[in-house]
């Protein structure tokens, strides 16, 4: 780890201010950034820890009935708070990493990092959630469909942080994942959510473009919300899939189908 300054703001406004400094970097729970810095693969002059920004923590419900999860909410806290109102999303949070990771890692940190194998992006995209980002020029709302722009790439501007994500609650939903045995990140995972106006299917772990919506499955499931409807589909194109030590592109494409069908079944 190289030397850096640690800043600990206690409000969003102070955090935005601190992130305006030259080469400043926001720190959520540090489950990705800190190991990367320890390995000297990342360095920053100023690390702005969001751990003390209380207004970014916790879950509440807005007037539209959406569940609003603060960006600084840990996976463990989110899992607990979402348990009765959105069990599928709660279950996603409850199965991330291990207890130590869930106690430190935050939803906002995971979504902002947009690891192509992370769990939260599937929950956000699958739910059609709205990301609230705060930055120098104010606060804005970004729809999930516009937010994820490729592996480790999001619509966040320099200095912006995720203060909250607003999740509409579907009629039914479930998250099914196959883990990569070394990292225990998803090898492929599917988040399926059935809303009154249609079904959303988000896949993580599979594509070299990061999390994506499997639109063919969405169309089929909107007409017939059953595992059989998924089994009748061709697997997504393996062309853009990740191929590595843990799974070929063809295997990942195949798993998209299996995990989606299982999620549909689990959603009931």
């Amino acid at each position: 780890m190289y030397d850096f300054q640690l800043v600990k703001p206690s409000s969003v406004a102070e955090a935005i201010e601190a992130l305006g400094a030259e080469d400043a970097q926001a720190l959520g729970g540090g489950q990705t950034l800190l190991p990367t810095m320890k390995a000297r693969l990342a360095q920053t002059d100023t690390l702005v820890s969001l751990a003390h920004v209380e207004e970014m923590k916790g879950v509440c419900t807005d007037d539209a009935g959406r569940l609003c999860v603060g960006g600084g909410t840990t996976h463990a806290a989110a899992a607990e708070a979402l348990k009765s109102d959105y069990p599928a999303l709660s279950s996603l949070a409850a199965r991330i990493g291990d207890p130590a990771v869930r106690a430190r890692g935050t939803m906002g940190g995971s979504v902002a990092n947009d690891d192509p194998s992370a769990c939260w992006p599937a929950g956000v995209l699958g739910s059609g959630a709205t990301v609230v980002a705060a930055g120098k020029s104010g606060t804005r709302e970004i729809g999930a469909d516009d937010f994820f722009q490729g592996m480790f790439t999001t619509a966040l501007e320099e200095g912006e942080i995720i203060t909250e994500i607003r999740f509409p609650v579907p009629e039914k939903a479930a998250y099914e994942k196959m883990i990569q045995p070394a990292s225990r990140f998803p090898l492929v995972a599917a988040y399926v959510a059935k809303f009154a106006d249609g079904v959303r299917v988000a896949i993580t772990g599979a594509s070299s473009d990061g999390v994506f919506r499997w639109t063919e499955a969405e169309t089929a499931l909107s007409q017939d919300f059953s595992a059989e409807a998924v089994k009748g589909l061709a697997a997504p194109d393996a062309g853009g899939m990740i191929s590595d030590l843990h799974g070929s592109a063809e295997y990942r494409a195949h798993l998209c189908k299996v995990m989606t069908a299982r999620a549909v079944k689990a959603a009931g």
Binding site: A182, D244, L245, G247, S248, A249, E250
Partner: protein, 820 residues
């Protein structure tokens, strides 16, 4: 009733108190006043020519004391290899130099070419980044077939080629074996890979070198399984320091698994630099460095053929193996695929003719050497896989085929040099069949199928050669060391004992089990016996711990020394009781004279030895301290039968181990609880190899599995509760005083074929009748690929023996490998 002390009791591990309360004293806990820290600059290319190294910027950085390069080690010895194999033409193996810091070329990712010593670790790390090495990348040889091709890039320019040796065993049997194959009623053949592994002990390697100018002596604190061996190898061959001027200390060591047997460049560096700089120098490996500098294990590619007659008797066995040596010869690397592998190819079977061919190959990868089991897992895997395949081809029960061919009469001279002294392979198989409710399997399979899962049962035998080893024999085989063990037993005046053993405990629990043996022999409480190990200044001599040898060889030395103690103590007791020495008995810590009421306590005798007022000074010396060296006259042969039951998810290819049973014959058992723990650990590593672990390189020699993000370590979550039994079928070793055979490696040796046999059985039951083999690790991707007839996504590939266009067998790489 289970015993509550002594031999056969499950005494709690006394060392665990300090380990579990954070009071263990590991090498990294050792900080010598005034120590400096070293950080190594390691090659990030697999093969390259060093054009120049500019250290000037680094030398000017804060805290930097000195920057070393290969040039500083000209005139210093090469890291030695401890075993010379003779090839099938009678020629010695090709043996390259291994400089402490690379000279001229770097030969694998992680090869150190410079070392920065600074006042703090952070300063050394900063300065290491400022060392500017000009390295021209050269084509790398990763794949063993490519490495042996005509005109291949040479790992070592001064060698003929990349072939270390081509070994035939027994070469004289080759023609007779060929003839038996010609005459066979059935031949089963199989090509397979034994995947490369990283040992991953919990504690990374550490070295602290110290130098005392007042007496010109050096001390090395290091994470080693055998400090005396390091003292000899480093002192005599690398740095030219005589034993009496060099102390090597290996304190608490957090796991070794073989990879801490070897003498490493970092140890020599710290000892050398401490003397040069006249200040202690410390190195602590990072986990990332461990992946690219600890010797790896396994990495064999094999073709095996089994010949059977019309009655299904095994008539001959023939193998051809490519064994990866990596870029340099690690300490015992050449012995692993030869004498620790070829000699076990008869397995538990009375196959009369065996021929083993091994080609050891240099590649631009981390050196490969012994890893838990070392050669014997490779032998067991291929043999038990081919026997299973033969049973399937012949449509006979795999257990019945094994039983039909078991060796049943002992001693048994195998066709591959070794003689099994004793064993009962039907005995352990009987125990196993009772443990696993084999008759109930069909119902369990049905139940799995009802849940959409395929269930498979894999059963196999194994045998290993442990208690390494008779020195005169291994000397003939090329060992450059003796493999005896020594122990000194010192009895103190008030009756307590200190045993100084050359065995080294790095998790095995010797401090408990060795004390049980001595306490039992004398009849005193175990807490009266202290076990000292791991320090050449405290223990006179030692060959260390590996090859499941500690109790069989080190324990035997300790027994012999204790017998000498008892013999002398009886003389003293006889004097004190005014009795004839021949009538004195020792029981429960008390000497008595048969047929009388005379007795004298152990403590009174030991006190007399050190306060010899009433003492036979004319006959014996005062004091009570004895040393024994024990050199075994044969290996020991632990053996057993293992069974694995799996469920395979046909949609994803995921394998779940739902039950695992191990029936072992380790001969006599000193501490059943410790033995059970050793088997559990071995099983975790063996099943880990079969399902999860894979050290993979890409075609350019970049290490793909260079962290825990990509190298899959097994976790408790991945296993069922193991059923183990080493009590019900025991044939004590016939040639050592305790009748023990060794238990440390069995689990890792016996379990990989059980897992693969079980997965193949599951797939066959699901209608995938053309899947006869899948290469380890059986990742979901590979299993799914096998079920879907594909062999997609091969990354870097190492060839099978006799590789051709249709062979996908390889030891590393991604994707799916199936033999159809």
């Amino acid at each position: 009733m289970p015993k509550d002390m002594g031999i056969g009791a499950s005494s709690k591990r006394r060392e665990d108190v300090r380990f579990l309360t954070g009071k263990g004293r590991y090498t990294d806990d050792i900080n010598v006043a005034g120590q400096a820290h070293v950080v190594f600059c390691r090659s990030d290319v697999a093969h390259g020519r060093i054009e120049g190294i500019d250290t000037s910027a680094a030398e000017g950085m804060p805290g930097v004391i000195r920057v070393f390069t290969g040039a500083d080690f000209e005139g210093v010895g090469s890291i030695p290899c401890g075993w010379q194999v003779t090839d099938k033409h009678g020629e010695p193996m090709q043996e390259p130099a291994h400089p402490v810091l690379a000279q001229g070329k770097v030969r694998h990712v992680g090869d150190p070419y410079a070392a920065v010593v600074a006042e703090t670790k952070a300063q050394a790390r900063d300065a290491a980044e400022a060392v500017e090495a000009s390295i021209t990348e050269l084509p790398a040889v990763i794949n063993m077939k490519d490495a042996l091709a005509e005109g291949a890039t040479k790992v070592h320019d001064d060698l003929r080629d990349n072939l270390c040796y081509d070994w035939g065993f027994v070469e004289e049997n080759k023609d007779a074996v060929a003839k038996a194959f010609d005459e066979a009623a059935h031949v089963t053949s199989l090509e397979l890979v034994n995947n490369r592994l990283v040992a991953n002990p919990m504690e990374p390697r550490v070295a602290v070198g110290d130098y005392a100018s007042h007496d010109d002596s050096s001390t090395l604190y290091t994470t080693s399984q055998n400090p005396h061996v390091i003292r000899l190898l480093m002192g005599a061959f690398v740095l030219g320091i005589p034993e009496h001027k060099l102390r090597v200390v290996a304190p608490d060591v957090g796991g070794g698994f073989g990879t801490k047997i070897f003498h490493y460049a970092e140890e020599a560096f710290c000892t050398f630099a401490a003397k040069q700089l006249e200040m202690p120098v410390k190195w602590t490996s990072t986990r990332g460095e461990a992946f690219m500098s600890d010797a790896h294990g396994r990495d064999h590619v094999t073709k095996i053929e089994l010949a059977l007659d019309a009655e299904n008797n095994f008539t001959a066995l023939r193998t051809e193996t490519y064994a990866n040596m990596g870029a340099y010869l690690s300490t015992f690397a050449p012995s692993v695929p030869t004498w620790l592998h070829g000699t076990l190819m008869a397995g538990n079977y009375k196959t009369p003719l065996v021929y083993v061919n091994v080609k050891a190959v240099f590649t631009n990868t981390v050196p490969v050497d012994a890893y838990r089991g070392a050669g014997r897992p490779e032998a067991t895997f291929q043999l038990e896989r081919v026997v299973d395949k033969a049973a399937r081809e012949l449509g006979v029960d795999p257990v019945a085929l094994r039983r039909q061919n078991f060796v049943t009469e002992f001693p048994y001279q195998t066709p591959v040099a070794v003689e099994y002294d004793t064993g009962d392979y039907n005995g352990t198989m009987d125990v196993l069949e009772k443990m696993i409710d084999r008759d109930g399997f069909a119902a369990r399979r049905k139940e799995s199928e009802a849940r959409g899962k395929l269930r498979g049962l894999g059963i196999n035998s194994y045998i290993e050669a442990c208690g390494i080893a008779p020195s005169n024999l291994v000397g003939q085989l090329g060992a450059r060391a003796g493999l005896y063990e020594s122990a000194t037993v010192r009895v103190n005046a008030t009756g307590g004992l200190v045993v100084m053993t050359g065995s080294h405990s790095h998790g095995q629990g010797h401090e408990t089990s060795f004390a049980q043996v001595v306490a039992d022999m004398i009849g005193i409480p175990e807490d009266q016996v202290e076990i000292v190990h791991g320090d050449t200044a405290r223990v006179p001599m030692g060959m260390g711990t590996y090859g499941s040898r500690s109790l069989a060889v080190g324990g035997s030395a300790m027994v012999r020394a204790t017998e000498k103690i008892i013999a002398k103590a009886k003389k003293i007791a006889a004097h004190l009781m005014e009795a004839d020495e021949g009538d004195v008995e020792l029981k429960d810590g008390k000497f008595s004279v048969a047929g009388t009421d005379k007795d004298v306590a152990w403590g009174d005798v030991t006190l007399a030895a050190y306060v010899p007022h009433n003492y036979p000074l004319e006959d014996i010396e005062p004091g009570l301290e004895e040393t024994a060296f024990y050199d075994p006259n044969n290996f020991t042969y632990p053996a057993g039968a293992y069974a694995c039951e799996v469920e395979v998810d046909p949609e994803t290819g995921k394998v779940d181990v739902v039950a695992f049973a191990a029936a072992d014959d380790f001969g006599n058992v000193v501490n059943p609880m410790i033995v059970e723990g050793q088997v559990h650990g071995g099983l975790a590593q063996g099943i880990g190899q079969a399902l999860l672990e894979n050290c993979a390189y890409d075609e350019d020699g970049q290490l793909l599995s260079a962290s825990y993000m990509d190298y899959a370590m097994p976790r408790a979550f991945d296993f069922p509760m193991f059923q183990v039994d080493s009590q019900s079928s025991q044939t004590p070793c016939t040639h050592n005083p305790l009748g023990v055979k060794g238990c440390g490696e069995a689990g890792a040796i016996g379990s990989p074929p059980s897992v693969v046999n079980a997965v193949v059985d599951a797939l066959q039951s699901g209608g995938f009748t053309d899947v006869y083999h899948i290469d380890m690790p059986l990742t979901p991707d590979r299993v799914w690929g096998a079920m879907n007839g594909s062999a997609t996504g091969q990354g870097a590939a190492q060839p099978a023996a006799n590789a051709d266009d249709t062979t996908q067998a390889r030891s590393v790489g991604d994707g799916t490998t199936a033999t159809h």
